[in-house]
Amino acid sequence: MVDNEALERALESVMDPEVPVLSVMDLGLVRAIYQVKEVIHVDVAPTYTGCPAMDVIHERIKASLEPFGETIIHSVIDPPWTTDWMTEAGKKKLEAYGIAPPVGKASDKRTLWAPSPNVRCPRCKSERTDLVSLFGSTACKSLYQCQDCNEPFDYFKCF
């Protein structure tokens, strides 16, 4: 048996391929790590249903745990992943990287046509920002622009 903490530490270095400052632990994608008869099992939640990065994430998790032994990854969708699973440290890293972190809680997002939140510019911290496009460079992001510094930036959707 390998110490679970050692496995968690190893997973902290597995970065999301699209947002390379966030680890799978920061994102809250790893739901459980357990060992059965020398085999390591990791339950991983998908972010978006069609996120093309999931295969890469699974491969990277496997590779990072290879030194500890055979690893099997299970994709689990219940309870569904939301941005609420992202850690506070993860949100800070995201903003420092230039992506505005999700605003508010995802739990109330099942309403249709909810008003857009006030998103803070990750560059100059102004809250005077405009939504440019609901869909951005990846499935999880919207495109915003700051009215004060004019910088366009990605917003990680609260989801």
């Binding site: 249903t49 996120c51 309870p79 569904p80 939301t82 909810a114 496009s133 609901l134 869909f135 499935a139």
Partner: protein, 258 residues
């Protein structure tokens, strides 16, 4: 590929899951045709994002259907090795993209239906469908917001955009009517409790659609005489062309992988 297709013996739940999967795959494929052709970059990206969400959702359903079929059936068999008559998507999903307004009118009707369908599926008696719906409804509310905003922009835009979107909305209304006319696959699902009674979804849909149309200075929706048959496998001629393009690689090179 050793799996032998047996659609005629497909049980009601598998058929229903395939119907849900087919809607998502066929519309996802249609939207993917916009890739590289959007009027501006942001809109190109938006439609392909929605396409990606739908194809991801289709995979969730096909994987489930494949498990229900058993005997080594895979998601790829279901997506790439079935013929048109075995597909149970709504006719609206396979209709050609047309111009930008046509695509957005089709999307607006579908997204709004999809949202209420998923809301009902979140109460399904089937656990797996509940889980898939709980996840997909979040993405779908973004899609619905996006397509509704475009209806408002085009309807409340110029004289020309108003006339064009009104025409597109009229064109797709009888196709949208099919959402609420139960086919065999819907009846079996609602009787067994794993799917909603589709006629029950129509009032929420009409209410939401009309609210947006009013903001867009457009006339309320008139569903007209339904154009139906898709859920029974009777498709328009567009369906075959779509499948030909989507399935050709998988059929020419079985077991091809990236």
């Amino acid at each position: 590929m050793t799996y032998q297709m047996k659609w005629d013996t497909c049980d009601p739940k598998t058929a229903y899951v395939l119907h849900l999967a087919d809607d998502a795959l066929i519309l996802g494929q249609r939207l993917a045709e916009w890739c590289g052709h959007g009027p501006i970059l942001e809109q190109d990206i938006a439609l392909t994002n929605i396409s990606l969400d739908l194809i991801g959702l289709a995979r969730q359903y096909y994987q489930y259907a494949a498990e229900l079929m058993g005997e080594g059936c895979s998601e790829n068999d279901l997506a790439y090795h079935r013929d048109s008559r075995a597909f149970m998507n709504h006719l609206i999903c396979e209709q050609p993209n047309g111009h930008w307004g046509d695509t957005l009118a089709r999307q607006f009707y579908f997204d709004t239906f999809h949202f209420f369908q998923l809301e009902a599926l979140a109460q399904s008696s089937d656990e797996r469908l509940r889980h898939i719906a709980a996840k997909a409804i979040k993405e779908t509310s973004y899609h619905a917001q996006y397509s509704a905003e475009w209806i408002i922009r085009l309807g409340d835009g110029t004289e020309e955009s108003h006339a064009k979107i009104a025409q597109s909305l009229r064109h797709f209304a009888p196709f949208a009517h099919e959402f609420f006319v139960a086919a065999e696959v819907d009846r079996a699902a609602s009787e067994a409790g794993f799917g909603p009674k589709v006629s029950d979804l129509s009032s929420s849909w009409v209410e939401k659609v009309d609210a947006i149309l009013q903001l867009a200075t457009l006339d309320p929706v008139d569903l007209g005489f339904p154009k139906k048959g898709g859920k029974a496998g009777l498709h328009s001629e567009h369906h075959g062309y779509l499948l030909a393009e989507m399935q050709s690689l998988a059929r020419a090179y079985p077991d091809a992988s990236w």
